[in-house]
């Protein structure tokens, strides 16, 4: 049975189901139990993480499985790697992906490489839940979109859900995956609602979703950029242009075949990525599609990304920072001017 719930509820529900199904699944992170169940603390409920995503789980599973850690990102993300290497399936919450500076070694040099370095003997079934995305006036240290950077590390899988349905299914896949998976949540999407089945289901890691079928232009989106892509598709539809919108869902490894098949059909590609513009997922997609589909292209591959600056604080500047439909339409016009004449 499905019902409409928020993305935050969907993520919470996925963790609850995973913990009910497997007692090796534990949660670790700063304030994720938020003081609840501590001796002498009389509130039944507290934070549940800074955004409240883990709320209620400590009441159901106890502090042995919902572990508040010190503010010690290097310590507890590394501890999650160690716990994964020794038989548990931790889900570690890194409050903001911007804090990765403290603990990148544990992802870059330890967790992602242990299996390879150890000749296949180690297994690191670790999920790191984190948040990305601008739009909350949280400025340069709490708003970055770093999923592409993580995706550049061999041995790491990176998923970016776009709505409540994919959020629940991708998280269940991530927790059951025997690799280090970074699950990156756009903090500005937590409140959006969507149809989500009550029961257990998975969304496959590595598979993109064709959100809207079209024949004239392919737009690949990541996370929240899906909604920008759909807005553009609606606007262009008024002019008779049929846009195929692909929700990438997995940034590493990304679904080359789905994007390739779409571009072969439409001959035009725009990738929308909220990350800074250099060496990000969009540039990688452009490179691969340019290589594998050059003969099918009717124009240059275009990327619409954030500019090459930190995320600003002031609301008007932040609006300028985030890719929007207006910017994408401008780029699209360059690609489809000939189609417009025909239609």
């Amino acid at each position: 049975m499905t019902r409409k719930i928020t993305m935050m509820q969907a993520i919470n529900e996925a963790m609850q189901i995973a913990m009910e199904n497997d007692d090796k699944v534990i949660l670790m992170g700063e304030d994720i139990a938020g003081g609840a169940k501590v001796d002498g603390f009389d509130q039944e409920d507290a934070w549940g993480g800074v955004f409240g995503v883990t709320k209620g789980l400590v009441q159901q599973f106890g502090r042995e499985r919902v572990i508040d850690t010190p503010i010690s990102e290097n310590g507890y993300i590394g501890a999650a790697v160690g716990a994964a290497a020794t038989g548990l399936r931790p889900v570690a919450e890194l409050m903001f992906n911007d804090f990765i500076g403290f603990c990148l070694d544990m992802i870059l040099c330890q967790g992602s490489k242990m299996r390879y370095m150890f000749g296949g003997k180690a297994q690191i079934p670790l999920t790191i839940r984190t948040t990305h995305g601008a739009g909350a006036s949280a400025a340069a240290q709490h708003s970055q979109s770093l999923y592409g950077m993580f995706g550049a590390i061999p041995g790491v899988k990176v998923v970016v859900p776009s709505n409540p349905y994919t959020a629940k299914g991708l998280l269940l896949s991530a927790i059951e995956d025997n690799n280090l998976v970074i699950y990156s949540e756009d903090k500005t999407l937590y409140g959006i609602k969507g149809e989500v089945p009550e029961e257990y289901y998975k969304v496959e890691i590595g598979k993109a979703h064709i959100e809207r079928v079209g024949s004239d232009l392919t737009i690949v989106t990541i996370g929240k950029m899906l909604y920008v892509g759909l807005e553009v598709a609606d606007k262009l539809a008024e002019e008779g242009i049929e846009v195929e919108v692909i929700d990438l869902l997995t940034v590493a490894p990304w679904d080359q075949e789905t994007v390739l098949e779409s571009v072969k059909k439409t001959g035009r590609l725009i990738v929308i990525d909220e990350a800074n513009p250099h060496n990000n997922t969009a540039t990688d997609i452009a490179s691969v599609i340019g290589d594998r589909a050059f003969d099918y292209l009717d124009g240059p591959i275009k990327t619409v990304c954030a500019p090459n600056c930190p995320v600003p604080f002031a609301t008007n500047l932040e609006e300028l920072y985030i890719p929007n439909a207006e910017k994408v339409l401008k780029v699209a016009d360059e690609l489809i001017f000939d189609l417009k004449k025909v239609k």
Binding site: I26, M28, E64, R65, I67, T69, P70, S72, N74, G75, Y76, I77, G78, A79, A80, V81, G82, A83, A84, A85, T86, G87, L88, P90, F102, D105, M106, C109, Q110, M114, R115, Y116, M117, F118, G119, G120, K121, A122, Q123, I124, P125, P154, G155, K157, N178, N179
Partner: protein, 330 residues
């Protein structure tokens, strides 16, 4: 500092003493052999040798089983041997061969054998602290009495991971033992220059856990202190910080001219501080082992390392196809 003079009441069993003597010899012979083979150009990459520090890995691991975990350092061969990793597989790994413990993909700096509880030598100084803490979390959650030992050098004690790791382990009362091998040099930097605290053990006070300084060349002292710490950890009483004071016989890496050591320091590499000699004297004085037993082990060890070299040199180089295997688990 704790020494064996104060610990005469500790009795090693004959079986344990034999294991200890053989393990220390295996480490020494393994390392001296690598020293020769590296300078002969037979071994690729970097090699960081442990010779002279044998009493620490051996004395600590004498208290562990395969169900216990260790994390290690750049200078990890001694820990691997003491934790029971296959010596042939280790030698082949350092030679970069297919039969290496990590199929030739890790090399000297990353040797590991998770089945033996050896969670890896580490190419990142201080990389082992959080991982050992994680092993402690697993142990506490599964309530299986396993302990995790984090070996680290004096240099790593200045990394943030040292403080974060000990703080987490202490506040969560995890079964993790932090064993500092203070050999006097962080790479080329003497500890007197880079550390603001007089001893590493003193830092335990900040985390309200026991901090013990011990003569790291004294097998019995290390064994005794480690036993107490490990017993405490298994009993749920949390971590201990142990500082073992020792000396690095060789350079930071092989080929290092060690210009940062003073002439006095170079001369201060005395036979009477050698952990293997010290234990031999102890074993004879205390009628623990006979000269015949000791000689027999010495010969056995030489042979074992010769065999390991043959095994490594006869092992093929890894197949090209293996370049892309084991990046991800299925």
């Amino acid at each position: 500092m704790t020494t064996n003079k104060a610990l005469q009441e500790v009795q090693l069993t004959e079986e344990k003493a034999l294991w200890v003597y053989e393990t220390m010899h295996n480490i020494r012979n393994f390392e001296n052999t690598l020293h020769k083979h590296f300078s002969a150009g037979l071994i690729p990459g970097f090699v960081h040798l442990y010779a002279g520090e044998e009493a620490i890995a051996t004395g600590v691991c004498a208290n562990l089983t395969d169900a216990d975990y260790i994390t290690s350092t750049h200078r990890g061969h001694g820990h691997c041997i003491a934790k029971g990793c296959d010596i042939n597989g280790m030698m082949a790994e350092i030679y970069g061969r297919e039969d290496g413990l990590c199929k030739g993909k890790g090399g000297s700096m990353h040797i590991a054998d998770v089945d033996k509880g050896m969670l890896g030598a580490n190419g990142i100084v201080g990389g082992g602290f959080p991982i050992a803490v994680g092993a402690g979390i697993t142990s506490k959650y599964l309530n299986n009495q396993s302990v995790a030992v984090c070996f680290f050098g004096d240099g790593a004690s200045n990394e943030g991971t040292f403080h974060e790791g000990i703080n987490m382990a202490a506040s969560m009362k995890l079964p993790v033992i932090f064993v500092c091998e203070n050999n006097g040099f962080a790479e080329a930097t003497p500890i007197r220059y880079s550390s603001a605290s007089k001893t590493i053990a003193d830092r335990a006070k900040a985390y309200d856990i026991p901090g013990i300084r011990v003569d790291g060349n004294d097998l019995v002292a290390v064994y005794t202190v480690a036993k107490e710490a490990i017993d405490r950890a298994r009993a749920g009483e949390g971590p201990t910080l142990i500082e073992c004071v020792t000396y690095r016989n060789y350079g930071h890496f092989e080929g290092d001219e060690q210009k940062y050591k003073t002439n006095k320091e170079k001369k201060l590499h005395p036979v009477d501080k050698d952990p293997i000699n010290l234990f031999k004297e102890y074993a004879i004085e205390n009628n623990l082992l006979t000269k015949k037993q000791l000689t027999s082990i010495e010969k056995k060890s030489v042979k074992a390392i010769e065999e390991a070299v043959k095994f490594a040199q006869n092992s093929p180089i890894p197949k090209s196809e293996s370049l892309l295997t084991d990046v991800f688990a299925d």
